[in-house]
Each structure stands twice: as structure tokens, then as C-alpha cells.
């Protein structure tokens, strides 16, 4: 097993989870006021709350994947696959966030 690729793959998964968490919280907090209020209460500003949640998810998934890694790794192919998922998650999320605020403005 290549330990380095397994650890980096875990943090790529963490990045995917962080990007999706930011997107989900952005849309959900704007549609559901109590969630935005909760983020404000906990972190003084909803945007700081989203950033803090993303950091937590990134570290939890990254270190979780590192600590509980499986013995059979798939080397650089797994890292490439992880980056592919990260790339498309980022593009999809950017379109969702931008499209959501255009929709909110127009409605």
C-alpha cells in the first residue's frame, strides 16, 4: 500500500465534502432562516459559520480517512479519480451557488 497516496486521497475526499457542505449550507441557510440565525448565533456571522463548518468537515473526513485507511490502496489512480470528483464537484457547486443567487434575485 502506498501510504502517501492513501492519505492524500483522504484529504481530497475531505475537500469534496467541504465544497459540498459550503454549497448545501449556502442554499439551505438562505431558504431556511432559523439555520442562518443558528450560524449567526454560533459564529457571530453566517459566513464565518459556513467557513468553520467546511474546515471541520475537511479535517474530519481527511484525518478520518487517514486514521481508518484500508490496507488495499489503489495508488495514483485513486488520487486521479479523487481529483476528478473534486473538479466536477467544484464546477457543479460554483454553478449551483451562482445560479441560486440569480434565482433569488429574480424571484
Amino acid at each position: 500500500m502506498n501510504k502517501k497516496t492513501t492519505i492524500i486521497k483522504a484529504f481530497i475526499r475531505g475537500a469534496v465534502a467541504a465544497v459540498l457542505t459550503i454549497t448545501l449550507l449556502t442554499v439551505a441557510a438562505d431558504l431556511y432562516g432559523p439555520l442562518k440565525d443558528l450560524l449567526k448565533q454560533l459564529f457571530s456571522h453566517h459566513w464565518i459559520g459556513k467557513g468553520a463548518a467546511a474546515i471541520f468537515v475537511f479535517l474530519a473526513v481527511g484525518f478520518g480517512g487517514w486514521i481508518f485507511r484500508r490496507e488495499a490502496g489503489d495508488g495514483s489512480a485513486g488520487v486521479a479519480r479523487g481529483l476528478k470528483i473534486l473538479f466536477w464537484s467544484t464546477i457543479f457547486s460554483a454553478i449551483v451557488v451562482f445560479g441560486f443567487f440569480v434565482w433569488e434575485f429574480l424571484r
Binding site: 502506498n2 502517501k4 497516496t5 492524500i8 484529504f11 481530497i12 475531505g14 475537500a15 467541504a18 465544497v19 459550503i22 454549497t23 449556502t26 457571530s44 456571522h45 459566513w47 464565518i48 459556513k50 467557513g51 467546511a54 475537511f58 495508488g75 495514483s76 489512480a77 488520487v79 486521479a80 481529483l83 476528478k84 473534486l86 473538479f87 467544484t90 464546477i91 457547486s93 460554483a94 451557488v97 451562482f98 443567487f101 440569480v102 433569488e104 434575485f105
Partner: protein
């Protein structure tokens, strides 16, 4: 705006631009047939440091000043969509960049032999660097539009 906040805003813009330039440098270096890992490591690290500094300085400005002093000006102007669409999208899409920057740097710093041996891995690193650069560039352009809208009304 007090002088400390002005300096904070200038630092946010400068380090943000440095980060976007670093993502571009990583992208261009990865596109070369002979990879220079000294240069790739330097620029990927510059991207991480730049984007985190830009996050903290921009976050401070946004939480302490923008909402109270700039947002109302833009909302009352003839261009409320500059806040409602551009600023809202900018501040949230920006949050993706630190995570892209970290995984890009981790792969470049620790997977030199794998990147040299695996074309597919190199291709997806190019796409990741490209996504960070293009999103960063859009964020810079949106920032310019936001500053422009605030200055038209307050200038």
C-alpha cells in the same frame, strides 16, 4: 473606514491576487512537458498561504465593515444585483479555493514520482489548478465590480 481597516482591505486584495497568480503559475508549470518541481512546490505553497491570508483579511473586512457600511450603499444604488448576485456568489465560491489549494499543494509536494509516472494524475491536477485559477479570476472580477458599485455611489 479607519486606516487599519484600509490596510486590511489592501492586504486582502494583494494576497488574493498573489494566490490567483500562483494558481496560474502552477497551471502553466503543469502544462510543461518537463516538470520543474521546485517551481511547482513554491507556487503551490504560495497559493495556499495567499488564499488563507486573503480569507482571514477579507473575512474580517466583510464581517466588521462591509455589511454595515458598503452593502446598504450598493443595495440602494441602481445596481442592487451587484450585492445580491455578485457579492453573495463571490463570498461563498471563495470558500472553495482554500480546499482546492491545499489538495493541489499536498499532491505536488508529496507525489512527485507518481505525477511523473501517471499522465492521468497529471491531467486531473491540471484541471484542479485550472478550476482554482478560473474561479479565482472570476472572484477578482466580481470584487472589482463590487468596489466599482460602492465607489460610484459614495464617490
Amino acid at each position: 473606514m479607519n486606516p487599519a481597516l484600509k490596510i486590511n482591505l489592501i492586504v486582502h486584495i494583494v494576497v488574493g491576487l498573489i494566490a490567483v497568480a500562483a494558481f496560474y503559475a502552477v497551471l502553466v508549470n503543469l502544462l510543461k512537458s518537463r516538470l520543474n518541481f521546485f517551481s511547482l512546490r513554491f507556487f503551490s505553497l504560495a497559493g495556499v498561504i495567499g488564499i488563507f491570508l486573503s480569507w482571514f483579511t477579507g473575512g474580517y473586512y466583510y464581517a466588521v465593515y462591509y455589511g454595515q457600511a458598503v452593502k446598504p450603499i450598493i443595495k440602494k444604488s441602481g445596481y442592487p444585483w451587484i450585492h445580491d448576485v455578485l457579492m453573495e456568489a463571490k463570498e461563498h465560491v471563495f470558500l472553495f479555493l482554500p480546499f482546492l489549494a491545499i489538495v493541489l499543494a499536498l499532491a505536488i509536494w508529496f507525489l512527485e514520482s507518481e505525477i511523473l509516472a501517471d499522465e492521468k494524475l497529471k491531467r486531473y491536477l491540471i484541471l484542479t489548478a485550472g478550476a482554482a485559477f478560473v474561479l479565482g479570476l472570476f472572484i477578482v472580477l466580481m470584487g472589482m465590480a463590487i468596489s466599482g458599485a460602492a465607489n460610484i455611489k459614495s464617490g
